[in-house]
Amino acid sequence: MTIKFKVILVGSSESDNEVYLIEEKDILKGEEYQTNLGLDFKLQYKVIGENKVNLVLWLTKGEKHKEIKQNFYKGADGIVVLFETSKEENIDQIIARIQELRKNSPNSSILLIGRNIRNRMNQIVEGYTRQLIKEGKVQKKTDLNIDFYDVGVLDEKGVGTAILDFFARKLLSRTNY
């Protein structure tokens, strides 16, 4: 059977200089469509066990208007948050970013990716968990559906494919199939 997921790729902040570690050539093979809405669509098909997993990727890099971008986030099954590698971002700002993304798609799985960011990721997840527990929204860390992927441990080549393969498995594990 074929399971489809809407996955959006966003930067770790809403600023214009979002950096994508996943290069487009890594994402897509065979099909190329583009729109002029400040939005690109890319497809990534995976075969996992007996299932085909279709990731419909929404790349919002070109859209400058925050309100329109946030509409695109709505209903996402998965959100891939891509980090700027050249600077250390404020942990509190990133936690606020995750909260903002979750506001539009509360049930989504989030994947945080960047280079050599393992320590920062742990701090982010811990900080976010504390925030949610404080708000009474979760009891423990496992309810979060947040994963992270440190691309520092891999060679550059094929990074995008490996990340999306990892995320496709994570998304599939949340279904009944």
């Binding site: 074929t2 489809k4 809407k6 729109t35 669509f41 497809l43 929404w58 099954d77």
Partner: protein
């Protein structure tokens, strides 16, 4: 008759298609079409934030995308023009879809296999728009079992490649829309093939699409000229919904086979459509009938027609019933001048 290309039922928030089907091969990727339409819809909402309104039509010169809203989904139907019957069917189909799959629409991830069974509903609902009642169905030999339901059981013995859908509906005493729906299902499963048969006495009229082709500046006009020269446009002008092909052949002085080729193209591209005539004959006194007929046989025919021609039965059905050609009946009824009226229906 509208030419349907494809249907997409899209999850409103997620912008991914739960169900999609192509009526003609278009090579559009449903995931991308869905994302694109959802994004436009979001964009429009940002321009004018009115929650009650949404995009319901995207139009280009040669196609439109009709959009109808549901609760959790919206439907997009690609066709050659905005048609109110197609739109009403789209609205109904969206309702049926949400009713049947309400729970599945909230699941995490969309399993497209769950929705595949909906294809039969779509083919049935759009059947009367997909299949022209003037088509001639023929059974294809197969080892597979034909799906059975009451209308299919009734029409199966009547499918012989010689009767068109109008005639089958008449013989089976079923509404023609129901027969089109049943045939549409059989065709989608490759149990029947549909053929076009055009006869000299067929009458055609132009569609809304042809109206655009009359103007020299349009793409349609150029397309017809490129294919058939001025003759193609001459034929479009001649098809006035009154003259049959025999009369047009005479008027344009062109070989019937050449005329036929152009007619088939115009039909397939939906520039023209068949016309069905429904005669109504006023009740006349025996003296009036005698005055307009030459013998007792003709008088008997006049009284028979007076009973049948009440605007309910098409000329083709009357012709079969009386075993007379449509031309003969038309010529005979013309004698009664103002006592006969013709209702013209485009098929």
């Amino acid at each position: 008759m509208v030419k349907l290309q494809g249907l997409y039922i899209i999850l409103k928030l997620r912008g991914i298609p739960a169900f999609s089907t192509e009526f003609v091969h278009a090579n559009l990727h449903p995931d991308l079409v869905s994302g694109f339409l959802t994004a436009i819809s979001h964009f429009a909402r940002e321009l004018h934030a009115d929650k009650q309104k949404d995009i319901n039509l995207i139009k280009r010169e040669d196609f439109v995308i009709m959009i109808e809203d549901g609760n959790k989904t919206f439907g997009a139907l690609i066709a050659d023009f905005d048609d109110k019957d197609a739109r009403a069917t789209l609205k109904r189909v969206i309702g049926l879809f949400e009713e049947e799959f309400d729970k599945n629409l909230d699941e995490f991830g969309i399993n497209t296999l769950v929705f595949e069974s909906f294809k039969d509903v779509v083919v049935k609902e759009f059947g009367s728009l997909l299949v022209n009642p003037f088509y001639f169905p023929k059974l294809i030999k197969t080892d597979e079992n034909i799906p059975r339901d009451p209308p299919i059981d009734k029409i199966l013995p009547l499918i012989d490649g010689e009767k068109n859908l109008n005639e089958i509906a008449y013989a089976a005493t079923l509404p023609v829309e129901e027969v089109c729906q049943a045939i549409s299902i059989l065709e989608s499963k490759n149990f029947v093939e549909l053929r076009i048969k055009i006869e000299e006495l067929d009458i055609f009229s132009t569609t809304d699409k042809a109206t655009e082709a009359f103007s020299r500046e349009t793409k349609y006009h150029r397309k017809i000229i490129d294919k058939f020269g001025d003759k193609g446009i001459d034929i479009l002008y001649a098809l006035d919904g009154k003259k049959d092909l025999k009369e047009i052949e005479k008027e344009l002085q062109m070989p019937f086979n050449d005329l036929l080729k152009i007619i088939i193209y115009l039909l397939e591209e939906r520039f023209i459509t068949w016309i069905e005539l429904y005669p109504i004959m006023r009740q006349m006194t025996p003296d009036q009938v005698i005055a307009l007929t030459s013998d007792s046989q003709e008088q008997a025919l006049a009284f028979t027609l007076m009973n049948i021609c009440d605007g309910t039965y098409p000329l083709s059905s009357i012709s079969r019933k009386l075993e007379l050609s449509r031309g003969e009946i038309r010529r005979f009824l013309k004698r009664f001048r103002n006592n006969v009226r013709w209702i013209v229906k485009k098929i």
